[in-house]
Subunit: 351 residues, 2 copies
């Protein structure tokens, strides 16, 4: 066998199956520039792993990348998507620690998960416990890890302290509530005014939210009474901008910090001079990409394993809408906010 | 003598001379609510020192206090002003380390310096080298100390690094330029568009400014070319707000910090989401009052002595307009921006 193998490799390289993929060759509106096409088989090199995908989410950063407004710009043409999970289909000749049938996720996130078969170097594949739900493995990095790092990295929070956040129904928002609660940290949550906001409130309270308010409920004189028995928060998270960011600032205690990690309202953050001088507020930003270098991969995978452990134990859960890959463009329209749905769209691939 | 003294104190308490003072008994427009009146002599208690004032500035925070919009609110009626320097006139019976004729300054700043004779407990008087110019002693705390702390407290600057500031012609701005230069730190300075801006530029360059631009000069496409051979600044100072704050943010390098210490334009600071997430900027505030507790007095006086040393050596200088006390209301009008003058008004008291 040892003598024959090199000949086999030389004359008939190991190839992936053809892959059905969401491809774009120029930047623009995601619903018009993306096409679903069949890609030919690619060679599986010695250190490559070919994975049959199970699930891959549509994240706002994926959309921004297609639009060309994200600082990380892939070479075009490219396949969309950066997070995903699947089952090993075949491995390159040098791969020893992964075998067909293993459950894996892309870690760190890396271009091209919106396709049926992904071939990547082994450094990008993280092997998972078999009983990990694929849709969670496919979504655990970009949103839950953001929530975890934001709770840990900015203010030294103690049990009993509080945080305030807007966009609380987002996937990050849901994770903030649960991860904070696990640490004994209280949460004040701000959501948009919209039909169904009462249901949204109930949902967040079931996840462990202490207080949930719509923006219009916060238009009151005796603002501090809204704290209930929650202490003034030392830390706030903003993923909206505009008025919703001002409300986070208003809740913060003297010397508090607001961390911006998104801008869903596409409006800037406006801050009074006195908020800085007399209230002593600090404003910072969080950019997960700084954690996603291959250099920090080991550290990141430890955190991901911690989060997936919580998920398997039922201590961390979040809303997703699973969409068959054949209905990708409907899911994309939902992610673009065209169909009213607010839930995270996760593509489910069929075996 | 030891037997007679207590009787003297008991029957004829040591009294100050009458004091001519700028007084207000309610908050409102400073030019209408302040009156110059003669105050009767006050008792000089055992630990008190009576000082014949030489100089006292009109600071923006004094004006805000009269308007009632400053967080530190004196009990009314009160005498205006918080900084000042003078010569000891007489001392209480327990005072050993100050004598008539000594040059002193109020430290920490404390209410009531706009009057000819100030009586305060000894903890508020800091004895100075005789050859210290009184108008500098009277102004060294609120502005130069702000410049010093802002350079030291936010970013670990090394020689060769750069800072950017708006409101560069202000007293703090002038001090930033000179204190930065002493540490080998380069400065980019932003000033308002106005008649005489060329002279203002020359003046700042003579103080050591590396680059000086008016706001309108910064309305260019190739912004980074304006850096000349100065590196992108890691730290910025904002005392204006509005567009002038946005320009400071624009100059900052990736991960830079902007510190707000004033809001002369009375406009908020507006920041894009991407400045926080992708450029990693931090925004903070500086409030000198946090340094001016009696608890930190020793630490503060060391810094003040350092600054006054630089002043005596000619290494730190700044623009002031000396106004006779008899023309207080003209000086106040100038401080309120009513007469076009931009220079710091310092009341000079006549002997």
């Amino acid at each position: 066998m040892g003598e024959i193998r090199p000949c086999v490799v030389a004359f008939s390289a190991l190839m992936s199956p053809p892959s059905t993929a969401v491809v774009y060759d120029h930047h623009g509106p995601p619903d018009t520039v993306t096409k679903i096409i069949q890609l030919p088989p690619v060679e599986i090199k010695a250190n490559d792993v070919c994975v049959k995908m199970l699930a891959a989410p549509i994240n706002p950063s994926d959309i921004n990348q297609i639009q060309g407004v994200y600082p990380v710009k892939p070479q075009l043409p490219t396949v969309g998507g950066r997070e995903g999970a699947g089952v090993v289909h075949s491995v390159g000749s040098a791969i020893r620690d992964l075998s067909p049938g293993d459950l894996v996720m892309v870690s760190p996130p890396s271009a091209g998960t919106w396709q049926t078969h992904v071939v990547k170097d082994k450094v990008f594949w993280h092997k998972l416990d078999k009983d990990t739900p694929a849709e969670y493995a496919a979504t655990v990095t970009i949103n839950p890890l953001t929530a975890l790092r934001m709770i840990e990295d900015f203010v030294d929070l103690k049990s009993g302290d509080a945080v305030v956040q807007n966009g609380a129904t987002s996937m990050v928002g849901q994770c903030v509530i649960q991860l904070a609660k696990l640490r004994g940290i209280r949460t004040i949550n701000i959501i948009r005014d919209r039909p169904g906001s009462d249901e949204a409130k109930d949902k967040l309270k079931k996840l462990g939210a202490d207080e949930v308010y719509t923006e219009s409920q916060l238009d009151v004189k005796n603002f501090k009474s809204l704290l209930g028995n929650v202490p003034e928060p030392a830390l706030g998270f903003n993923c909206v901008g505009g008025n919703a960011a001002s409300l986070v600032l208003k809740f913060l205690r003297q010397g508090g910090t607001m961390v911006t990690y998104g801008g869903m309202a596409k409006k800037p953050i406006t801050v009074s001079t006195s908020s800085f001088i007399f209230k002593g507020l600090s404003l910072k930003g969080f950019y997960l990409q700084n954690w996603l270098d291959l250099d920090r991969n080991e550290e990141c995978r430890k955190m991901i394993d911690y989060l997936l452990g919580l998920i398997r134990e039922g201590k961390l859960t979040y809303d997703m809408e699973l969409a068959p890959f054949s209905e990708f463009h409907t899911a994309l329209d939902k992610s673009l906010g065209k169909l009213g749905s607010q839930r995270k769209q996760v593509i489910k691939f069929k075996f």
